[in-house]
């Protein structure tokens, strides 16, 4: 079950390769509600692919269509090159880890895990061996005789994972796999899950509404909004180069400003906004005078009590007063009110323990904001 060492780390770049999942023009209507709207998507072998979006965005419906619990209203789904239209769930090469875990309450951990193998009519000794191996992988050897009700949330989660993994599917579908765990356990389990995926080399498709979870886990993320794909990319691409206001705002937080393009050269763009002139050090091919949006992440803005040295240009800087401060421990979030009433969020790490109040930025202080020419993101929609 080891991962394929020859596979590249970025299999989606190899356009000739047959993808593990090929979704083409898939839509799903429930009555007059369109849950999934004309989606094209390729997922490659060995990926840990995240479907990310708010509730009702269609991510779970898409996952359930992969599992075979829902039939697409239109479009086709190919798994490993085979059309899945007429294949019932019990004959698909996929296994699912349910959000509620859906562990059989009348069976022990061992029986739950063996259930799928028994359906394949494997010999008993082989079933026993595989159950033993997978229990070792999820570190539940001592709990095999327990019923699901006698396990903690984290243990149940691992049983559910083991039950789906033990069948060695071509595709493992995980519906909010960490959703039922508390925060601390969730953070720890994120890494475990990614490790297990690396060990077994099975393609994972994870549905989640938690952007942090998606960022930590995935090789690639598809952000969904209202049944459509908003953007597909690696976590870095999605975070640093969002293509729309929706993605910029949904992933992390961002100050979003409306503006007009005043200059567009191959190597830079100037945009006029409420925050003053914004200079971006790479070309964007936007029309002169067109309406665009600028997103700046709060942590990309530098905060200072002393005015910056004014050079030839006054771009990428602003002045304001501290309206509110939220102390989060490792960082603080500052709400800065500009002269025209605009509020800008800035986060800064708390690198030193506050001793004297004089050096600290505090309420009603006048502060200066500056940011790098590479920091602002220009969004056309």
């Amino acid at each position: 079950m080891a991962g394929d060492p020859t596979a590249s780390d970025e299999p989606w770049l190899d356009t000739d390769a047959e993808p593990m999942v090929r979704i083409r023009g898939v839509s799903k209507n429930f009555g007059d509600v369109t849950a999934v709207n004309n989606i094209d998507l390729d997922i490659h072998k060995g990926e840990l692919f995240c479907l990310l979006g708010g509730s009702g965005c269609g991510k779970t419906t898409l996952l359930r269509m992969l599992a075979g619990f829902e039939t697409p209203t239109s479009g086709t789904i190919l798994i490993d090159g085979v059309d899945m239209s007429t294949v019932p769930p019990y004959e698909r090469p996929t296994n699912m880890m349910f959000q509620s875990y859906a562990l059989f309450p009348h069976m022990t951990v061992e029986k739950n895990i063996a259930f799928g193998l028994k359906q394949d009519k494997l010999p008993r000794s082989e079933i026993e061996h595989k159950v033993h191996e997978i229990l070792k992988l999820v570190e539940l050897q001592d709990y095999k005789k327990r019923k699901p009700q006698q396990l903690s949330g984290g243990q149940r989660q691992r049983v559910a994972l083991a039950r789906a993994l033990v069948k060695e599917p071509k595709l493992l579908l995980l519906d909010e796999p960490l959703g039922a765990l508390d925060k601390k356990l969730r953070e720890q389990t994120q890494f475990e899950l990614a490790n297990i995926q690396e060990q077994v080399g099975i393609t994972f498709v994870v549905v989640t509404h938690d952007q942090e979870e998606a960022m930590t886990l995935s090789s690639r993320i598809a952000v969904m909004d209202a049944g459509k794909l908003a953007q597909i990319g690696t976590p870095t691409e999605i975070y640093e180069f969002p293509e729309s206001r929706f993605v910029a705002d949904f992933i992390g937080s961002a100050n979003i400003l409306e503006g007009t393009v005043t200059e567009d050269s191959p190597d830079h763009v100037r945009v006029d906004t409420n925050l003053g002139e914004i200079y971006i050090d790479h070309g964007q091919s936007v029309k002169q005078d067109s309406r665009v949006w600028i997103a700046i992440r709060p942590e990309k803005i530098k905060l200072s009590k002393t005015a910056p040295r004014t050079g030839r240009s006054t771009a990428n800087q602003a002045e304001g007063k501290v309206d509110d401060i939220g102390y989060l421990g490792n960082t603080s979030i500052y709400k800065i009110r500009l002269d025209d009433g605009l509020i800008v969020d800035v986060t800064a790490p708390n690198q030193v323990r506050p001793k004297s109040r004089s050096h600290q930025i505090t309420w009603e202080d006048t502060v200066y904001l500056t940011w790098d020419p590479s920091s602002a993101m220009l969004l056309k929609t």
Binding site: G68, F69, E70, P89
Partner: protein, 280 residues
């Protein structure tokens, strides 16, 4: 969706519902039969309704049954609600297990046993204290209250459990005395359960034959006792007419209740929509 109704289940449902309703539909159709012999069709007629309405015996039985049902439903709702409150909200108290047992037992006790034992009780009481002097309205009503209150208690308990205790705790926290909480919070929220309990007790009483037969005395015939004494001897077209009236009456009542529930739900959904629009 995976796991929607299969054809086999649909067929079974259709057969089951036909089994439920065909006998009743035939019963209604034959009430309009002119012929004195029920299953022999003699043309449409309202003859048996006329016979029915002219029968004083039927009218007095209906009156007695309705009186008993009304008094029974009212007392059973009162006692059943108290019992339900005690079981769900009072924590542990002395004799709770016995109390709980006595609240459930009437639901599963065969009617012949309940009837027999109550009759024996009434006779013994009469010998000891001279009450009840004669059997009839009082004894039937007492007997009915005894098993009806158990049904009401079940409904009340279910509703109390479903309601949870948060609102009561909020009221206590805001300074209301326990008795005030009972009257201002618990009972109003319990009202739907008490109403369905009352209706159930009313219906159970109207429907009971066996227990009433045991504990009734000479001359006190409830409607079921009257019907039973007639149909024991065979089919009677006037009973078909009576059955039709009862079935249609019940169907209309239940349909109205269902409609009220339906509109309440609609209103809730509408409220929800308004709330959502206001929020977003």
């Amino acid at each position: 969706m995976y796991g929607s109704r299969s054809r086999f289940l649909t067929v079974m449902l259709a057969i089951g519902l036909a089994f439920f309703y065909i006998p009743m539909i035939l019963l209604i159709i034959y009430s309009f039969n002119y012929s004195k012999l029920v299953p022999v069709w003699g043309g449409w007629s309202l003859r048996w309704y006329e016979v029915l309405f002219k029968s004083e015996e039927v009218w007095s039985a209906v009156a007695l049954s309705l009186q008993i049902a009304f008094v029974n439903a009212t007392f059973a709702t009162l006692l059943g609600t108290l019992a339900g409150l005690a079981m769900v909200r009072f924590g542990r108290f002395r004799g709770r297990t016995l109390f709980g047992g006595m609240l459930v037992a009437p639901l599963v006790m065969p009617e012949v046993i309940t009837g027999l034992s109550l009759l024996v009780l009434f006779i013994t009481l009469k010998q000891l204290i001279g009450w009840p002097a004669e059997r009839g309205f009082t004894t039937i009503t007492i007997a009915h209250i005894t098993f009806s209150l158990a049904y009401v208690a079940v409904i009340v308990q279910a509703r109390l459990t479903g309601m949870g205790q948060t609102l009561e705790e909020a009221a206590l926290d805001l300074g209301a005395k326990p008795f005030k909480v009972l009257t201002a919070i618990t009972l109003p929220r319990l009202a739907p359960g008490m109403i369905s309990g009352w209706l159930l007790a009313f219906t159970l009483s109207l429907d009971d034959l066996v227990i009433a037969s045991f504990v009734t005395g000479p001359g006190a015939n409830t409607l079921p006792i009257l019907i039973f004494s007639r149909i024991r001897l065979g089919l009677r077209p006037d009973i078909n007419a009576l059955a039709t009236i009862i079935i249609l009456f019940v169907a209309v009542c239940v349909a109205i209740a269902a409609l009220i529930m339906f509109y309440q739900q609609k209103r809730q959904e509408l409220d929800q929509q308004i709330a959502n629009q206001g929020g977003a």
